[in-house]
């Protein structure tokens, strides 16, 4: 097995007595004080996440046709979520592109997919040399929660006060060039902060000195994202799942050319074989990845993500099912060996009380 990579914060996590585990080829903190306590802290105050494992690329020049949206149509200072597809429309990765300047963008990708993404994107560029992988020298931490704006403004300046959702600013943090982006993966008001990898520990320690801030691990992050219905690559999205199947066609611009478009057009025309559903369990029982989904005792699909939701006090999940099982209100059974739970198809997000757009 390949050796696990460590972020610049590894010893900080160990000093905080974090439970560490492999994720996407990295040794990452899963929890510190406890997953539910960290989840609650993020929903009520401000939680700090080590996200240094994610990949970042910089490119200069023309990048049309690579992703499911047009990079040149993103205004400078804004970012956009979308996909890198294979030629049958399957998702190679979900990612965010930040338009840094007229001729420059940063692409932020998942950790486990970083190397493959880099190779695929390069192969699609007219000028492959214009793409640089800056993952190793780039650090990233996320501060997420209703108090995150006042904390960021107090520590790093008033320019952060007015950043709207999916916009970012280039600024200076601890004497280094940094990007502060109003994005996240929690459903709360929050920021993703990019800065040089060798400055991350200093930023982490500074923010943790603030009594309003507590560290949160990937366990809490997974609950927070699932309560919003956000997809997790590797669970809810993969190379066999298209954005249409996954219910994410909003992030696909069918008026532009891109790799995989013909397959998506066919799927739209012929109808999807499988569709994403969100469902709530009638009890506190948690559905889990790969549990079967049944409609009137017939197997119709599989759970792709599931957990107990602390905000809703019941099990919640995402799954892929045959279209006849996908209508809102449909009663489903979730089964795994002798465990069985009743559930109902609901709208996303599961949790609507977040400070995301406040």
């Amino acid at each position: 097995m390949e050796e696990l990579k460590a972020t610049p914060l590894r010893t900080d996590h160990e000093n905080l007595k974090a439970l560490m585990a492999p994720f996407g080829g990295w040794l990452m903190p899963i929890q510190y004080s406890g997953i539910i306590a960290e989840h609650k802290w993020c929903r009520e105050r401000a939680a700090l996440f080590d996200i240094c494992h994610m990949g970042e690329f910089i490119f200069k020049g023309d990048m049309e046709g690579v992703f499911t949206f047009s990079v040149s149509s993103i205004p400078v200072g804004r970012s956009r979520y979308g996909f890198l597809l294979n030629d049958v429309g399957g998702v190679i990765d979900d990612l965010i592109v930040f338009r840094l300047a007229e001729d420059e963008a940063m692409i932020v990708v998942n950790a486990a997919t970083t190397d493959n993404d880099f190779a695929v994107i390069r192969s699609r560029l007219k000028n492959p040399a214009a793409l640089t992988d800056i993952s190793a020298r780039t650090g990233k931490v996320d501060l997420q929660g209703p108090l995150s704006r006042e904390i960021m403004v107090q520590h790093f300046g008033a320019a952060i006060q007015g950043i709207p959702f999916f916009k970012f600013i280039k600024t200076s943090i601890l004497g280094s060039d940094a990007i502060v982006s109003r994005t996240g993966y929690t459903g709360e008001l929050g920021y993703e902060i990019f800065l040089p990898a060798d400055k991350v520990a200093e930023l982490w320690r500074l923010l943790l000195q603030d009594p309003r801030v507590a560290p949160a691990g990937l366990g809490a992050r997974d609950l927070l994202r699932l309560e919003m219905g956000y997809s997790l690559y590797g669970n809810d999205l993969d190379e066999q799942i298209t954005p249409i199947t996954a219910g994410l066609s909003t992030f696909v611009n069918m008026n532009k050319e891109f790799v995989g478009k013909a397959a998506l057009e066919r799927e739209v025309e012929q109808g999807s074989q499988r569709m994403k559903v969100a469902f709530k369990v009638d009890s506190r029982r948690a559905p889990r990845h790969f549990y079967q989904i049944l409609l009137q005792d017939q197997e119709v699909g599989v759970v792709t993500s599931g957990a107990f939701s602390p905000m809703l006090s019941c099990g919640i999940g995402l799954g892929l099912v045959k279209p006849e099982a996908a209508a809102l209100g449909t009663r489903l059974t979730i089964r795994h060996e002798k465990v069985e739970m009743e559930a109902q198809v609901v709208e996303l997000p599961f949790y609507t009380g977040g400070s995301l757009r406040s």
Binding site: Q31, G34, I35, I36, A37, G219, L223, S283, R284, R285, A286, R288, A307, F308, G315, V339
Partner: protein, 123 residues
């Protein structure tokens, strides 16, 4: 009477022909935040080491096995609404159920507290 433990990390404490059953502090800590306990039905009869109940945490779902044979006489109903009681005191307020018709002879197949501590060190 003292508590006895199984290799699967249940505990049992006998008082006459009745026994209280739960999971060990160690098991509760390993599971992390407990979010659901499937309590057994009152009147259900179980043999020693058969599946008795089920427990779920934010990380995993597992079965709870009967440390001794018996018939379920009472369940800790408080766990329906507050399964976190198991995290707060797995060997106290977080008990799972009470069994009746139990026999002390079956304790011979279990570990006392000192032997269980030794067993945990070897894991």
């Amino acid at each position: 009477m003292a508590k006895f433990y199984t290799k699967e990390h249940e505990w049992v404490e006998m008082a006459g022909a009745q026994a209280t059953v739960g999971i060990s502090e160690h098991a509760a800590h390993e599971l992390g935040d407990i979010t659901y306990v499937e309590l057994p039905k009152i009147g259900k009869s179980v043999k020693q080491f058969e599946a008795l109940a089920a427990i779920e945490s934010v990380k995993a779902a597992s079965d709870i096995y009967a440390p001794v044979s018996g018939k379920v006489a009472a369940v800790n109903q408080a766990l329906d609404e507050a399964p976190e009681l198991v995290n707060q005191g797995a060997e106290f307020q977080g008990w799972i159920c009470k069994l009746e018709g139990v026999t002390e002879a079956e304790l011979g197949a279990l570990m006392d507290a000192a032997a269980y501590d030794e067993y945990l060190k070897g894991l």
